[in-house]
């Protein structure tokens, strides 16, 4: 067996194991997986039929909540999970074995991407079935690449944000506090043009609004450029790269105390 196939197999086993833990950990599964879907159904039923700037509100909400779900499956999921594995000593225990940091981290990322994949699929089906909202066929390449860049960016940031967190209990509140306010001001729960020019410039340079805006373009029928928003993808890629470098350099196996 070559080194590559060994790593792939080992990573696959880690992904399977993480999936077992994730789905058996009901709170975790509920908040990362069911919450975004529930929000789509509730918000969609509540005000989806209203019109805003001539467009049905649901047409804004679907891409925004999909961004929220993607972040929930990647950023929130990874950050909370890796922090609590580290701070409870489970990672230290793993360090006693020959398992490499690379295999461990790839396994965590792989598991998050799988959750993100399931979530996106259910989301797209629900949006279509319940509200008749869908991505134009010509935008499919754009939406796939946007989801991929977004997922990669928020996986990297999720790993990076674990660095300063010093206890398992603090992981969840800190992680939520880093993005729920940002999600609100970035218009994730409503329209991507929320806020004044200054706020929009600031949030546009952060990774969340670009994800919401790029997904919004993917869902917009008749949008120019086949749904592509290269500038937003670039912002996410830059944040993702910075997050990946930080996460890799500061990765720790041992708890803070």
């Amino acid at each position: 067996m070559t080194a590559v196939t060994t790593t792939v197999r080992a990573t696959g086993r880690r992904v399977r194991l993480e999936q077992l833990c994730f789905w058996r950990h009901r709170q975790m599964a509920f908040f990362t997986f069911l919450l975004p879907v529930a929000l789509l159904v509730l918000l969609g039923e509540m005000n989806g039929h209203n019109r805003y700037q001539g467009v049905h509100v649901i047409d804004w909400e679907v891409p925004g909540l999909l961004a929220f779900g993607l972040i929930s499956a990647t950023y929130t999921n990874l950050a909370i999970n890796v922090t609590s594995l580290r701070e409870t000593g489970i990672l230290k225990r793993l360090r006693a074995t020959p398992l490499s940091a690379r295999t461990f981290v790839l396994g965590q990322i792989g598991s998050s991407l799988l959750v993100a994949g399931y979530l996106t699929t259910i989301f797209v089906i629900a949006a279509r079935a319940l509200f008749g909202v869908s991505v134009p066929l010509s935008h499919v390449p754009a939406v796939l690449i946007t989801l991929l860049v977004g997922a990669a960016c928020f996986c990297a940031l999720g790993l990076a944000v674990t660095i300063p967190i010093r206890s398992a209990e603090a992981a969840s509140p800190i992680v939520q506090a880093t993005y729920i306010p940002l999600a609100l001001v970035s218009g994730v729960f409503f329209t991507p043009d929320t806020g004044g020019p200054v706020l929009r410039a600031v949030t546009g340079a952060l990774p969340l609004r670009p994800l919401a805006a790029a997904l919004d373009a993917c869902f917009a029928h008749g949008a120019p450029g086949g749904g592509w928003r290269p500038a937003d993808l670039a912002v996410m890629a830059a944040w993702g790269a910075a997050g990946a470098v930080m996460a890799w350099r500061a990765f720790r196996w041992t708890p803070s105390h």
């Binding site: 080992a10 489970i90 230290k92 225990r93 006693a96």
Partner: protein, 306 residues
């Protein structure tokens, strides 16, 4: 066979506090070596340096020929570790968890053998979060054995256990010895060291105060033995030199460094007076007493050991 571990002049300093103050020892392959001492003596710091989880301030350390600092993967392949804190993912079943650890090693032991070694065959399908503390600790031991290691570190493997759980864990550890593994064990229980170890290093305030077989350590007369029995009235008991007597009701306790000599004169006295030494018990020194004895003689003993 050579030495599995060699430690020379090892120190560990945290700021102004010197947790390990220059220790030397060797562990032969196949030996069960115990670091015995009270909490805060430096036992865990010492084993965590050997495991590579902490760096040392000075000295040389060789574990299976490797410097453990930086935890080289070749070393991790050949050692098994049970940490002091038992941290396992509760959502996995016992067999799933043990099997996952097997996959991290090149030459793992069979799952069935691992579960048998720690007496958990009947619990293989249970979730880790539903196990008792003692059972989790045995799962932890199975994880440490997954890669068929030559050398196993056990940091306080039975602290907080009830007597039945301790004996099951001891049996599991004896199974390792039978397989020819080298074992490094820390404990603050004297009986655990006596039960399991070939050699015991008594660690006191960051130093090895004494290092020997359990039998010879007890023979060193670092602390007295207590001989107790019931005898009616207030008889004039024979005492050997240095022995002291203490009575509470009919219960007599004689404290002496020479238990055999004292028992000898007592038995002869009892025979002469046609009486029995009812409820006779001979208590070896407790860890606390040995510890106090060693602390008092620390500097002198240390020179004797070196």
């Amino acid at each position: 066979m050579g030495n599995a571990i060699e430690v020379h002049g090892m120190t560990k300093r945290y700021g102004n506090h010197e947790a390990v103050r220059g220790i030397d020892f060797e562990v032969a392959a196949g030996e069960v070596f115990c670091l015995l001492g009270p909490n805060g003596a430096g036992k865990t710091t010492t084993v965590e340096i050997l495991e590579g989880f902490r760096s040392r301030t000075a000295g040389t350390v060789r574990v299976l020929g490797f410097d453990p600092e930086g935890q080289p993967v070749e070393l991790r392949e050949r050692i098994g570790i049970v940490l002091q804190e038992c941290a396992l993912p509760g959502e996995l079943r016992v067999a799933e968890l043990v099997d996952s650890y097997r996959s991290y090693y090149r030459h793992p032991l069979a799952l069935a053998d691992l579960l048998a070694a720690v007496d958990l065959e009947d619990d293989a399908r249970r979730l880790v979060r539903d196990l008792s503390g003692g059972q989790r600790r045995r799962v932890d031991l199975a994880l440490a054995l997954a890669g068929d290691p030559e050398l196993i570190f056990l940091d306080e493997p039975t602290t907080g256990f009830d007597p039945a759980a301790r004996h099951r864990s001891w049996q599991a550890i004896r199974n390792l010895v039978a397989l020819g593994k080298t074992v490094v064990l820390t404990t603050h229980y004297m009986d655990e060291a006596q039960e399991l170890a070939d050699r015991v290093a008594v660690v006191v305030r960051g130093r090895i105060a004494a290092c020997d077989t359990p039998g010879r350590l007890a023979d060193r007369q670092l602390a007295p033995v207590r001989v107790s029995f019931d005898v009616p009235g207030e008889p004039d008991l024979p005492l050997i030199e240095g022995a002291t007597v203490h009575c509470r009701g009919e219960r007599v306790t004689i404290t002496t460094f020479d238990a055999e000599g004292q028992l000898d004169v007592l038995f002869r006295w009892a025979k002469r007076h046609h009486t029995r030494l009812a409820g006779l018990s001979v208590s070896p020194p407790t860890l606390e007493e040995v510890y106090l004895g060693l602390t008092g003689a620390e500097d002198g003993v240390r020179e004797g050991v070196a």
